[in-house]
């Protein structure tokens, strides 16, 4: 989202940009999030991501290179020269009209997936039968707009620019690193990001194991504020998303009993206290982080926690949602002039033509990313004015 905002802001000022994304679609993790509006907007900002992506299609100052990685980045005077390598098996998003024929004709399940927005298809190379050595070209043959490109090898592109903006976002924390919470071991334990995707695609099962979901637990700070994992930072978004999600679930299932296990509730909005009081009417806030999860009867999940009376109790829930934190982004080998701060996120060492925006520089919500990227775009523009 930060990268999109920055590109837009630069386009507004008449500067062109090239968006290079390793994913086959734009929008990063933010595009997978569900709208949290109950009867009113809950200020999550997820809709703005969809709008920014649609806007990008209209602006010809923004070029997109998807399913790509940067192989090499050299600086020559005030110019950067990036060698960009693109996946061999691609569906060109600008040509595709989302008719869905390739998706239907593909003989290998899971080889063609649909992007979260606009449902444009893309190919998963490792699953595609062509990558595995077969001569299949069913998708390319059926495509009426020649959008499917099945090259034999990766294609290389040279991109020249006067500034580099790093907006690689975050990596979701892998809760398997906290095995006692049962993720991957107990059905009924999922990450907040998984729940978002299920709700977004309307694939969420409200009656798993035959009985309806009545009790839901959110566990906060999974992978955040955890010195045992070396994560001495707050992910800044999880309190907001858990409380918004809880209220969304309640709007969908009014009788739902929701408990949020937390350490401290962080401010996420101005007039936060009023928001928190509203949430308290709908959600049980419990100051404790469960230490262990075990399978319960009828597919439920039991959590062990220390209650406010000072004793350890096991409590049973139909669904446990882990509010996973933001981990620093993966390294980009070609960008060796970017260093990491104490929390592991990116910062720029000594280069006034390289900028870090969005969650790659530290945990940020969607609206914070937009705000920060818009401010950063002005610094980029200022730099571009000076180099001429």
């Amino acid at each position: 989202m930060a990268g999109l905002t920055c590109a837009h802001e630069l386009a507004d000022r008449g500067y062109g940009s090239v968006l290079i994304d390793k994913a086959p679609f734009l929008g990063g993790h933010a595009v997978k999030l569900v709208c949290k509006a109950t009867s009113v907007c809950q200020n999550c900002g997820a809709c703005l991501v969809a709008e920014a992506i649609r806007e990008t299609q209209k602006l010809n100052l923004i070029n997109k290179i998807l399913s790509a990685r940067i192989e090499r980045l050299l600086k020559d005077g005030s110019y950067f020269e990036a060698l960009v390598v693109q996946e061999p098996l691609r569906i060109l998003p600008d040509q595709c009209n989302a008719c869905g024929q390739c998706f239907r004709v593909c003989p290998v399940p899971g080889a063609i997936c649909l992007s979260p927005l606009i449902c444009t298809p893309y190919i998963i190379r490792d699953v595609c039968s062509r990558h595995l050595g077969n001569a299949c070209s069913a998708c390319a043959d059926v495509c009426p707009r020649s959008a499917v490109q099945l090259s034999a090898s990766e294609s290389e592109l040279l991109v020249k620019s006067q500034a580099v903006v790093i907006a690689t976002g975050f990596t979701p924390f892998n809760p398997a690193q906290k095995p006692r919470l049962g993720y991957g071991r107990i059905t009924g334990v999922l990450t907040a990001l998984e729940l978002e995707e299920l709700l977004r695609n309307e694939q969420f099962d409200w009656t798993p194991n035959g009985h309806p979901i009545t009790r839901v637990a959110f566990i906060q700070c999974v992978g955040s504020r955890d010195s045992h994992l070396g994560r001495n930072y707050c992910s800044q978004v999880c309190c907001a998303y858990a409380l918004r999600m809880a209220r969304l679930l309640r709007a969908k299932q009014p009788g739902l009993d929701i408990t949020v296990f937390y350490m401290d509730i962080q401010n996420f909005e101005r007039d936060f206290e009023a928001r928190l009081r509203e949430a308290e009417n709908e959600v049980n806030l419990c100051r404790a982080i469960p230490s262990e999860a075990r399978p319960g009867i009828e597919g439920r999940v039991e959590l062990l926690y220390h209650n406010n009376l000072g004793s350890n109790v096991w409590d049973s829930f139909d669904l446990v949602v882990l509010s996973i934190g933001m981990s620093p982004p993966d390294s980009i080998p070609a960008l060796d002039f970017v260093v990491r701060n104490a929390d592991g996120f990116f910062e720029v060492a000594e280069d006034d033509s390289v900028f870090v925006v969005g969650a790659s520089g530290g945990p940020k919500s969607i609206t914070e990313s937009i705000r920060q990227a818009a401010a950063a775009a002005e610094r980029v523009a200022f730099h571009l004015e000076r180099v001429g």
Partner: protein, 544 residues
Amino acid sequence: MSPQSLTGIKTDDTISKDLSTVLVLGGDACSVQLVERLCEEGLSIIYLGDMGPNATRVKQMGKIQLIPDGFLKWITGVIGAFNVSIQTRNGVQGLKAGFVVVAQPPTILPKFENYGVKPANNVLSLSPFFDDLQREERHSKRKADWRHIAFFVGLDGAADTGTFSKVFDCIDILIAQEQVQCYVFTRHLKVAENGLEARYRRIREAGTLVFVFEHDCPVVEQTIESVKIVFSDSQLSSEFELTPDVLVIDEKLRPPTNVDAVRALIPSSLSSKPYLTVASPRYPGVSTAKVGVFAVGAARGEFYRPKIADDVNSVVGSIKKIVALQEAKGRGVVAVVEPATCTLCLTCVRVCPHAAIEFGVSARVDSDACLGCGICAAECPMQSIALGQRKTASENSYVIDQHGLQVAAHDDRKIVAFLCEHSAANAFCELSSCLKAMVNPIVVPCAGAVGEVDIIQTLLNGAQGTIVAGCFRGNCASVYGTNRAAHRVSLVQEALVDAGLTADRLVFVPSASNASHSLALAIEQLLEMSGCQHSRETSSTSLS
């Protein structure tokens, strides 16, 4: 809405614009930096507020008028032509400005009363305590007799990261004096900023004791000589007493209180009081609902220093973008008033969320301030306002843009849907093609642009169902456009019932760009009602 007679309307755009002067209501720490950046961009500045020791240096930077002891009496006008009245010691001064930036410091409210204590030599408010500490550090003169210092931070449930950051600053200075032991009493630790959790860990590792209370807050027994804190620890289930040398009380940070003059300039900002910016994800930064007025830091509800520093760039960038747009005359679709039929009822002035309408002999929409939402056009009882686009950059003549509101009488598509271009139009794109084929989509700049007449016209033209789809409340780019749309739909529904008809063929659907479900459901229900065969299976998104 707008009769054809408006086509090719000419307006009298005699107002002279000056986009080179910025009025800065300053005082916040970042406002000096803001002035410096604006000067670099060649803008002239009127700075209202005390700049302290920076004044002499900043004065040399460009065209700057410093008014250190002034008070903003009132301000009127639109972008490029704000009329400002400033009360100074020497009387009232009238000035003109192109932009307004509110960059005043937060209002700091001490919390003594919240904790039932009185200010005393040993009971201090956070800001003065911090300022004192910094000064003493500079003069390397220490309060040698301090041993125990307690901080109350957000024990009443209200605190922000800015306050915690300041408390950690104090503790950093204090623990440099080795004999001082610090205690922090709080309810929720607010560490949701980069680096703040790590700072919290550091002060704890350095020996600071932090007590977190859920319900049973500590009780303070204050006498003239001493202050005693009595508290119980639920984990150890025992009571403790602490008699600190100093008890430091946190403060409530609020937006600046002296911005009523600016608020009067943007009537719709009243709905987001005490802040100046709209509480909507569409306004994440410094922009207010009125073009050319910006709120920095506390005025928009941000109190954390490093984030306020970003606002300087946001303001400079926004001003540069507006200047570039004005030069290109590229504002796009705006509202235009036909002076001949305007009766000066001022409905438009009242309903415009962007405060873009002024009046003289007739109402006049300022084309730089107008965002083209069309709410005024829908509300105008004389139908004297239409949305249009400037014909050429040089002439003040407009081509009226009907935004498709003129509904074709015999469209074979059964359902008419008015779609807000910000939200519902995007959601509509995600619907399945067979569902789309059943609908005549009319994209409008805001759901608030759809008038009662437009809605009734669709039904008269034989629509089987009519949908007005806007943003969710609180998400509208025109603040309350979607509320007005919902209200109008309910008015038409009532009228239909009064006329002996059923109202269920008309619905208001709040929708978001990334959620097409509610729109799909509404269309399906209307189709079912009109007896149209339409299987549910084919209606989910196109490919799945």
